[in-house]
Assembly symmetry: C2
Homo-oligomer: 365 residues x 2
């Protein structure tokens, strides 16, 4: 039986609750003998800060480096709003992304037919929506230097962030987008602000060249990031794969996620480069939703985004494609059966708890 190393980082807020449901599935895999996941667990975010004074320890980073995949819950909450910038909960997530080299963030925005009415958009605009945002995750304004606040002689402060991209960084994320489009609807939309930003000019140039030289058979369009935000609201189904930088990807993927009405349902994968020697790539899987401190600890959270993230891990990190399909089907069946947490239950419907939904999914398997 194949055996894999899984690091679980539940984090803060509803993170631990939704991660607990994944652990049930891990147990199911071991029991059935399909695959064995050796799990380790560690702290990240506010809980790591409370325990160790940092958002993630070096020891946890070592475990992440050694793992075949990392499952990440969520971080942050009002409790840590006053923590120093270097130690804020998000710093743990950013360190993981950067040091594991997870440059490719895949964020599907899928509208489940059963849930189309939960969208704020009209049903016909979102029903059957299935797009993926490919967000560059280790570059841009998130990591560029200088990144600082300095106090000027006048007493005024000046803050600087640096948006920085190289040819290489853009090439590799463009390839991820084109490869993905090939197994989907064969269309890539590249979003930048070339009319204002130099990084947008380079982005446009490199994506155009990768397309011409390596993927001429895939349809490519360029769209300004602000217009992309508009178009996502106007007619999201025009898109298949959207490739964009770290900061635009942050906003556009959140807009896209919210369109579906299924925020609690959406998983994401953050992938590194393939190691040429082993063929392996580092990977972290996390739900698109945040730590939702307002409902944490009450068994109300929807575990499906976290479970879907585990399904992505099965698919991308362990090549357990059949099992990933099976798990996604189990989720769909449970939804069709009408069992739903509060966020998607609809008015007047009796909502199920986090554990109930997790149990039902295991049972479906």
């Amino acid at each position: 039986m194949a055996s894999y190393n899984l690091l679980l980082l539940p984090g803060d807020g509803i993170g631990p609750e939704v991660m607990a449901e994944v652990e049930k599935l891990v147990g199911w895999f071991t029991k059935t003998g399909i695959a064995r996941f050796e799990t380790e667990k560690d702290l990240v975010g506010g809980c790591a800060y409370d325990a160790h004074g940092v958002a993630i320890t070096d020891a946890a980073m070592d475990r992440a480096q050694a793992a075949d995949a990392v499952l990440f819950g969520a971080v942050g909450g009002p409790k840590w709003d006053k923590v120093a910038y270097e130690h804020r909960p998000e710093a743990g997530l950013l360190r993981l992304r950067k040091e594991l080299g997870l440059f490719a963030n895949l964020r599907p925005a899928i509208c489940y037919p059963a849930l189309a009415d939960a969208s704020s958009l009209k049903r016909e605009l979102v029903e059957g929506l299935d797009i993926v945002i490919v967000r560059e995750l280790t570059g841009g304004v998130y990591f560029g230097e200088p990144k600082e606040i300095v106090t000027l002689e006048s007493g005024e402060k000046r803050a600087v962030d640096t948006q920085l991209y190289t040819t290489h960084e853009i090439e590799r994320i463009a390839r991820v987008a084109f490869e993905l489009a090939k197994v989907r609807r064969n269309k890539v939309s590249s979003a930048e602000k070339r009319n204002v930003m130099r990084t947008g000019v380079l982005w446009n140039e490199v994506v155009t060249r990768v397309h011409k030289n390596e993927y001429p058979g895939v349809e490519l369009e360029h769209v300004l990031a602000d217009n992309c935000g508009m178009q996502l609201v106007r007619n999201p189904k025009q898109y298949d794969v959207i490739v964009t930088d770290n900061l635009f990807g942050d906003i556009l993927s959140d807009v896209a996620a919210m369109l579906t009405g299924s925020l609690g349902m959406l998983p994401s994968a953050s992938l590194g480069a393939e190691d040429p020697a082993t063929g392996k790539r580092k990977a972290l899987y996390e739900p698109v939703h945040g730590s939702a401190p307002d409902i944490a600890g009450r068994g109300l959270a929807n575990p499906i985004a976290m479970i879907g993230s585990f399904a992505m891990a099965l698919r991308y990190s362990f090549s357990l494609v059949k099992e990933a399909d099976m798990l996604e089907k189990a989720v769909a069946n449970v939804l069709d059966g009408g069992l739903r947490t509060k966020d998607i239950a609809g008015p007047g419907v009796n909502a199920a708890g986090t554990g109930e939904v997790g149990d039902a999914i295991v049972k479906e398997m």
Copy 2:
């Protein structure tokens, strides 16, 4: 009769067509003797490049500096896609903003009840929507240096843009937002990415201080820019005034505009600081929509956003508040009467032309 200097910069695409309708209104004002607008006209954008090799000439800039207000149509189009970065059509607009010191961009997103069905959102979520995005317009990543593409020794290129904000820049835009909230629904939402960007940290700090010291009576909330994008889609009516930086403002205001279903209807104002000696401020007014090259020259464009921009000029630059109200009422009456350009006509309705709508509005006056 008070006399004002108005510089008209129609620009490219549908710019000249929609500006022509404003000229009818200017004529009406002169004829009625309410106010006299001396208009001059000049080139900006692609047409300026074609004529002079630059996106705006120094002479046009001098006229803009001298004018009491600038009315701007739209710039850009595929024709100029290959023009060098420094001379691209948008450079004309950016130079105007920067050299006139137009740091405060007010972008109302209003959903006209008569048009609520044109929104992609469900009617109840947008009907009666009335929010304003206050976007910082002369700072941030739009203008920060270094801003360049360099070729490295390896042959790779590296592109850099610099996001930069000072205390002073944030203070003055925060004040604009708080002042506006005071005459509206008394709530300001400040959007940044303090969890990732140093400029976001400073933004948050300065807005908080201005609030505490100068506007404690106004409700203030801080929201992460990505979450703000989500919330705009989920429930836009939760907002009153949103204050944010140049780049986030670019995207969030486009998302907000699209929510209303009335993109062709939305005006905007870009204002400078008040001159302490004269009490005057530089100002530029422009529609939120772009140059729409696909329909340019065919008399199909909706002139209402441009006419609404003129109404904002009456209000903010000329203190002709009664007349601004009157003009806005005339627009509403024409809409209620059913006369509509193609973009808002709805299926099966006979659409009116640009000139017809303009004429009807003048007649209403």
